[in-house]
């Protein structure tokens, strides 16, 4: 971890809001600059989606004297996931907490990331072993902060408030919230619909209430799902989509946050 400059956790209380999708595209976006070294760590032990989304299904992890080597998508983008350790797509990782913690510790300690500018950690939904372990093992080496993903409806926000609460409890700074699946634009008539209606004001109202930055709102574009299924970067597949523009603006804000809060600084933002 000493060779990693910035560490970002991607969290949500809620499942299925697009954490892995966001983590993957944050990684792609940052890695578009060849001079930026990016690492993506998937600690969702039960549902490791990152290999699929990054087009790395079936890849194997190698061990060397200096530890495990991540799988490289590009020269400057390396990925590690428990998915690479499973021999079949049907293999289930049915582990209790302590074993999951052990694996996360190994990932964080034994992967030879090299010199990395940004380490993005994709997490499973919830507030449990994986999250506690990640924060515990990473905090000694300074975490820049957490990006929290939600969708507009109250059932998601309900869980996200708990997640923000969790961040406060463990003194993890919150970089901000991303509202995913915000609005759907019909490809036929181009009119907008809200598939997941913000019955209580969406992320905007929640962020105002909790005084946390809203980093951006990403519309629901069916191409995102298709790109993920094919293991390709949506940012390059559909460069003009409003969703791509939203992603890029959010990525920029995250970079700005990390730039303003260089490593070794101990002050806590947002707590």
């Amino acid at each position: 971890m000493k060779t990693v400059k910035h560490k970002i956790l991607v969290l949500s209380g809620k499942g299925g809001v697009g954490k892995s999708t966001f983590s993957a595209h944050l990684a792609h976006g940052l890695a578009e600059d060849e001079n930026t070294q990016v690492a993506l760590l998937d600690i969702d032990i039960c549902g490791p989606s990152i290999p699929k989304i990054m087009g790395l299904e079936g890849e194997q992890v190698h061990q060397s004297g200096s530890g495990w080597s991540p799988v490289f998508v590009e020269d400057n983008l390396g990925v590690m996931s428990v998915g690479f350790l499973l021999s079949s797509p049907d293999d289930a990782v049915i582990w209790r907490g302590p074993k999951k913690n052990g694996m996360i510790k190994q990932f964080l300690r034994d992967v030879d990331w090299g010199e990395v500018d940004y380490l993005i950690v994709d997490t499973p939904p919830g507030t449990s072993d994986e999250h506690l372990s990640a924060v515990q093992y990473l905090s000694a080496a300074h975490i820049d902060g957490a990006v929290i993903i939600t969708t507009p409806q109250e059932v998601s926000l309900q869980d996200v408030r708990k997640e923000i609460n969790f961040c406060h409890k463990v003194k993890l700074p919150v970089i901000g919230v991303v509202e995913n699946m915000s609005v759907f634009i019909c490809p036929q008539c181009k009119k907008e619909s809200q598939i997941f209606p913000p019955t209580t004001g969406g992320a905007e109202v929640m962020c105002q209430d909790l005084k946390i930055p809203l980093l951006g709102k990403v519309p629901l574009d069916p191409h995102i799902g298709k790109s993920c299924d094919k293991g390709q970067s949506f940012l390059t597949d559909a460069p003009d989509s409003p969703a791509t523009l939203a992603y890029r603006s959010i990525i920029k804000r995250i970079q700005e946050f990390c730039g303003h809060h260089p490593p070794k600084e101990e002050h806590l933002i947002g707590s």
């Binding site: 209380g13 299925g16 549902g47 049907d90 919830g126 449990s128 759907f184 598939i195 019955t199």
Partner: protein, 272 residues
């Protein structure tokens, strides 16, 4: 009850138990659990819902029961009735939290202990169906739930996915979990199958297509049906309305009723 060695306890009066599972988060397990419970009730059954999602207990809000107090009786905790007729009862960790924003940040062993309590110490009484909503994954909660329910021979598992490959990828692992733990799979439900634009009626496959049927075929289990996206459904569940009664014209309604019928026509109750 045939298993004479085990104490019958609070689950003795429950005729069928259905676990609603998914490997993937956010596919609509809680929504499907709630709708299945409502559909079974409309078919005249007495239903209980057990929400074992300790980190994200969404069901109290869906049934307009948030903030209700949980009482104790001689046999244990009294589940909360969510309707006047007392035909749907609910137990969720949500009822035990002091504030809805309070996070349950527990490691595995503590979660296991609570689930064991939920399963054995809730005085369900006589129920036709107990629908057990689970969190995503294949971990402590799931193992604890299956182990705690095993003496009572659950009817089986209903597995929920969304159409895209990323979901199917996780849900395949859930089916392996079912196989390894000896859980009979009642079938696969594909949720969020398509969205019909309210302005022009064009149907868009927002989350890709085909995954549910493919998954059922791969695993050799029945495909129970596809449920389309319906924002009115989301709105209604967020506001705790009785969806089945209020939205008979929703595109999701025929799908959910058909799924409930298939569940009803499954294997007979374990109690004679």
């Amino acid at each position: 009850m045939e298993a004479a060695a085990a104490e019958p306890g609070n689950l003795a009066g429950v005729r069928h138990i259905i676990l609603v599972l998914s490997g993937k988060g956010g596919v609509g397990k809680s929504t499907i659990s709630t709708e299945l419970a409502l559909a079974l009730r409309h078919a005249g059954k007495k239903v209980g819902i057990l929400d074992v999602d300790l980190c994200g207990p969404s069901i109290p809000r869906m049934l307009r029961a948030q903030g209700r107090a949980v009482h104790q009786c001689d046999s244990g905790w009294v589940p909360v009735f969510v309707d006047q007729e007392q035909s749907i009862s609910l137990m969720s960790v949500g009822f035990l939290l002091e504030s809805p924003d309070e996070a349950v940040v527990w490691r595995g062993p503590k979660k296991n202990a609570l689930i064991k309590q939920f399963v054995s110490d809730v005085a369900w009484g006589q129920l036709d169906y107990l629908v057990v909503d689970t969190p995503p994954g294949t971990s402590d909660e799931h193992m604890a739930t299956v182990e705690a329910l095993r003496p009572y021979s659950p009817l089986g598992a209903l597995v929920v996915t969304t159409p895209q490959v990323v979901s199917v990828g996780d849900v395949r692992r859930e089916l392996t979990f079912c196989r390894k733990t000896g859980l009979q799979v009642v079938g696969v439900v594909e949720n969020m199958s398509g969205f019909v634009c309210p302005h022009c009626a064009e149907c868009t496959n927002v989350f890709s297509r085909g995954g549910g049927e493919e998954l059922a075929r791969l695993a050799g289990v029945p495909f129970l049906g596809s449920v389309p996206l319906d924002p009115e459904l989301t709105r209604s569940l967020e506001e705790g309305r009785d969806f089945i009664r209020d939205f008979p014209n929703s595109p999701a309604f025929p799908a959910l009723s058909s799924i409930a019928q298939k569940v009803l026509s499954q294997a007979p109750a374990r109690l004679s």
